[in-house]
Symmetry: C2
Subunit: 361 residues, 2 copies
């Protein structure tokens, strides 16, 4: 649980933690959560929405898009009625749609805050893609808007619900690697020109915000600690028009309170398979791919333990289904999501520290 | 060649670049260089000396040790006459030993400077283990002593003579990876208590000086550039008596003038296989192990090229033989070693920058 004591007290006072009768609980248990999809891009159409086709706990009940035609096509595919298709202008009307419990926000980063806050005001829970926003202030406003509306806010950190990453965390927590000393991680790709990700205003930053955040978040969930010192360097190599506003490459080093050190790399200029390697006094684990939608692979060597070589056979879009169902469970059982807004806020604060350390490109 | 114009002029003036007659040259060509071994530790006895058993261009002709009995045993094995065994006190007497052309210095780091300088004054060339010294001042003094004595100084950077590393460099220089963007590297091991490596005065620093230097040197030879910005963090986790004087963990990030970024890790608290991974706009290469005495392995994926999966079948101590023979060639042909003192000095300066950046433990 990510509540502070004060927040917890506030929720209790607001009656949000009141118990239901057993009959009402059973009814709640069987509830299927309806998602309004905000933004019909690749991640929504090819991953999140298809994942709900397999789910018994969540389904697509509304669409929010600037492209009516595309929305109507998707509506037909997902059995969404025509009156549950919204434009960005009349987005607030979802307040009246009883079939929408939550929204999934998959827009350019800078729009996350506005569409989260408007959803909360419309009485809807929010599952928001990472990075949570483009500024710390926006992140705080999102948390506050959902808190004061009594709605859940979950950031879509897939890897924290995914078995290969969870197994890596478990090996560490169980002491199989001994005392953890150091982590290496990297994640990047060679970006196409003209993507919104290269627009500083829309993206908030370069590869750090988009894919480096996976390494940062991984170092935090692997150690279970928050960095207490961070130093970064950044550069642009390709003066081909792509990197007028955001960094191309960023490398950073950080320490955690226990003394664990991490060195990380991210880029928009090269294919850089997402991986991490954790070194402990009694062993080492390596996950690669670590952040992909499928095909994850864990290997580990540990003193006095058989080695692990564990490919994950699951297929995309299972990771998206897990996220959607986690928030559904949180709604049904009135629990705080494992990766609530505060988790996104921490990464945002840390990324801003990294940008401060290296100077913005 | 690493000469400055001034140094080159000085050498020419001293007649050191004078041409030999063809007959004299042929005689030189067949010369077998005699090495005096300074320090009979693991690296000398298990690697460097055995490597010369296979060489037609270099042989062991003297031993310098504080342990007479051990020295006599080794002398018998290598056919070194009793009058070519020296103590550290009468080391200068090698000046009179015409069978000694060069010395191989494999002592604790802080002793490299003294024994290099004494060798140069005794008229001997020097092959000195890495790290070159424990201070920048000592490194400069070593270079100056050898320069003014007209003797070669080579630092034993094995990897720069080793085919797997050379192949990695070649792929990069040939543009097979496109424009290089980023490098990850790590190297460390879990150190036993009471090693001289844990004594700050003898070692000069912790894992950075001992094994991290491989990653630093690799980033330099892979890029062919010198870092222009470096940031480090360091820590001690195990308060078990090992790390009273040196760091246990050190992570750093750096940039190069072209914009290439690198993130590196080193530790004395965990097994951290030496590796590097180089990301370019058109491909990636990974070498692991990258710094070991044998078993090196290069793999690469490149656009429009067949993938490379290239284990190196060579066995230890071939890498030591190559170093010994490189200096032998440099002596015979009066060439500057590829990894001359200046190469070691650069790493020393850079390591001091890293320590400055993170603060000494």
């Amino acid at each position: 649980m990510n509540f502070t004591r004060r927040e917890f007290g506030g929720l209790a006072a607001a009656g949000m933690l009141s118990r239901l009768t057993p009959a009402a609980e059973a009814q709640q248990e069987g509830r299927v959560i309806g998602y309004g999809i905000v933004g019909l891009g690749r991640i929504s159409m090819q991953h999140f929405m298809p994942s709900l086709k397999m789910s018994k706990r969540a389904r697509v009940t509304a669409l929010v898009s600037g492209h009516r035609e595309k929305a109507e096509k998707m509506a037909a595919e997902y059995g969404v009625p025509g009156n549950s298709i919204y434009s960005y202008a009349d987005y607030e009307r979802i307040a009246d749609n009883q079939n929408v419990d939550a929204v999934y926000i998959a827009l350019p980063n800078s729009m996350h805050a506005e569409y989260t806050i408007r959803a909360a005001k419309a009485g809807k829970h929010v599952l928001c893609e990472k990075p949570m926003a483009t500024t710390v202030a926006d992140s705080r406003n999102m948390i506050e808007a959902c808190r004061s509306a009594g709605k859940k806010l979950m950031i879509a950190y897939r890897c924290q619900y995914e078995p290969t990453n969870l197994h890596a965390i478990q090996l560490i927590r169980d002491g199989k690697l001994g005392k953890i000393q150091a982590i290496e991680s990297a994640h990047g790709f060679n970006i196409q020109p003209k993507e919104w990700r290269l627009d500083r205003k829309l993206a908030g930053g370069g590869p750090l915000m988009d894919v480096g955040v996976y390494s940062l978040n991984a170092c935090r969930y692997l150690t279970g600690e928050e960095p207490n010192s961070m130093k970064a360097v950044a550069s642009v190599i390709d003066h081909d028009g792509r990197f007028e506003e955001v960094e191309e490459n960023l490398a950073w080093s950080m320490t955690f309170p226990s003394g664990i050190v991490a060195s990380c790399n991210t880029t928009y200029g090269a294919n850089m398979p997402g991986f991490y390697r954790v070194h402990g006094s009694k062993g080492m684990l390596h996950v690669e791919p670590a952040f992909a939608y499928e095909g994850l692979h864990l290997s580990a060597q540990m003193q006095g333990e058989p080695p692990i070589d564990e490919p994950n056979p699951e297929h995309d879009p299972i990771q998206f289904q897990r996220e959607a169902e986690h928030l559904a469970d949180c709604i049904v059982h009135n629990r705080q999501p494992k990766t609530a807004g505060e988790e996104g806020l921490r990464d945002m604060q840390l990324m801003m520290s990294l940008y401060e350390s290296c100077g913005r490109i």
